[in-house]
Amino acid sequence: MSKHSALNTFGRSGNPAFTRNFDNTEAFSQSERMTLDGAVNKTAILLGLCFAGAFVGWNVPSLTLPGFIIGTILAFVTIFRNPAKAGSTAPFYAAFEGMALGGITVYAEMQYPGIGIQAIGLTFGILASLLFCYKSGIIKPTENFRLMLFSATMGIMLLYLVSFIMSFFGSGIGFIHSNGLFGIGFSLFVVGIAALNLVLDFDFIEEGAERGLPKYMEWYGAFSLMVTLVWLYIEVLRLLIKLRSR
């Protein structure tokens, strides 16, 4: 039994993208096993597709909402369907989500020229620096680290959901969208949580490769990294918009 009651209740992880099929390490030949190279290359493919989608969304901004809705549906399908089929849904997820991000960036660029490249640069800068911190052992993810991140992530998602529902009734949680000190502080906190989720993705991929999980888990690891990167980009963009609108 774990000393954390939440772990006992919900299992080892609350995130189904991370736990499903992790125990599935039957006898695979070396070429059928997950590797770090494979996971990084597949992440590069997904990033390429995301940029291609963003190019389409940039030129046809009306595709923003359809891209976002289809991308979200594909994300849920990838998480809750058999992970062995992640290779067929994750590329479409990346392309459609890229379409949505391209459209969102166009709207932001209209108001604040140059904000798009700043958000992209900061997102990838955070990715590279956290990867260095993880690989060198400066940041050491533990069970407590994961539990705290999971709680914070769920709290943020719940806050966004409540704010979204309240917006239908003409009100909302004002401070999370404001450009005041409290709003900027909240955005900084959310960017921090989204960034630290990258460390969990790195650890998941590293242990998957170490344990020799089946090859398709490379797609699954790349997909989980993409989901976090998309969230991080949106939060960085929101933070920059708040800062520039002051």
């Binding site: 299992g11 080892r12 992880s13 991370f18 736990t19 992790f22 125990d23 770090l36 190279d37 996971a39 990084v40 992440t43 590069a44 990033l47 140059g114 490249i117 700043q118 992209i120 640069g121 900061l122 990838f124 800068g125 990715l127 590279a128 990867l131 260095f132 993880y134 690989k135 060198s136 052992g137 050491k140 993810p141 533990t142 069970e143 680290f145 994961r146 969990l200 790195f202 650890d203 998941f204 590293e206 242990e207 998957g208 170490e210 344990r211």
Partner: protein, 69 residues
Amino acid sequence: MNSILFGILTIVSLFIFMNLGKIKASKKQMNRDDRIKWSSRRKPNIHENRDGSKVIEGSAEEVSDKTKH
């Protein structure tokens, strides 16, 4: 100028990710007891000899008659 700087940051970061991502994490990171247990079923440190007997890895401890009971 601003765009060029952030463009360079993007390219350099992607280059770091593509290269550093393929390298195994340091021993300091990997050889820890408090690592996240992604799997509920950990591989036990038990190896089988040719004759079928089992070898369990761990620190040896002397057992005397006094400490046995």
